[in-house]
Symmetry: C2
Subunit: 153 residues, 2 copies
């Protein structure tokens, strides 16, 4: 497990390598995603940066920064929830299977897992049978996390 600061440092280096810059505001948004450790909407990020870091960011800037972070593979958008999360593999140098997101319907906690590659291949095959191409094999799956599912029962 890495500290937020370590991850930020790593992200900064990886941006440098790719010829882009992790500015202070971009760091701020990324830190917020890392520290909160859950999926957040753009407007929640505005509030979080204001309250926790005392940085006032207009929503428009947050959206732009989120776009940037996604391009740099530092964050992902969860389309089903209209929220954003930090990529959980920022500090890894090795390649990964495509991430699958488990979204807790109750508390919005998100877990990023890699499923068995052959499962995805099977799915892909079924999809191609139907005449479609998978645009992104990244799945977002409606779930309940352990604690929330315990409470519900």
């Amino acid at each position: 497990m890495n500290t937020v600061q370590e991850i930020i440092d790593h992200a900064e280096n990886s941006c440098k390598t790719r010829g882009s810059k992790l500015t202070s505001k971009r760091k701020c948004v990324l830190s917020a995603l890392l520290q909160s450790n859950k999926a957040m909407s753009a407007y929640e990020l505005v509030d979080y940066c204001k309250q926790v870091y005392d940085k006032t960011l207009p929503p428009m800037s947050v959206y732009r920064i989120l776009d940037f972070l996604q391009e740099e593979h530092l964050a992902h958008k969860l389309n089903m929830a209209n929220k954003y999360i930090a990529c959980s593999h920022i500090t890894c140098s090795h390649g990964h299977g495509v991430p699958q997101f488990l979204i807790c319907n109750n508390c919005q906690q998100v877990k990023e897992i890699s499923v068995n590659e052959s499962t995805i291949d099977t799915l892909k095959h079924d999809i191609e049978q139907a005449g479609f191409q998978m645009a992104s094999p990244r799945l977002e799956i409606n779930c309940l996390c352990g604690p929330c599912s315990d409470k519900a029962s």
Copy 2:
């Protein structure tokens, strides 16, 4: 393949059986979903009903009707796209595997397929390993449909 009218008749009967009513406005929205044969937003449905059926429905009503149609298993919401589609199995009496939605990122066309049950079981198993419970095994998958993927290449 059934005509829209046949599907509507079938839906009306199934509502009657379940003790609810498929009113004329509800029919209108369902017809729009069936005729257009694609995923539509609530506001697109407002426009469609106005232009094609000359029925003026306020957005609020359309949302309520969409909720109703979902309760009756006549329509589904696609969370990733914030759009709605008619269930493709309205006229079927037998049970189905859980539907998976293939959404064309380009033209919004949606195909509802059933994937191999064991694939879903595997996925479910992986998810439980991660300490989560699948809330709905219904997946929404970012795709390109045949025509759009041809154009793109």
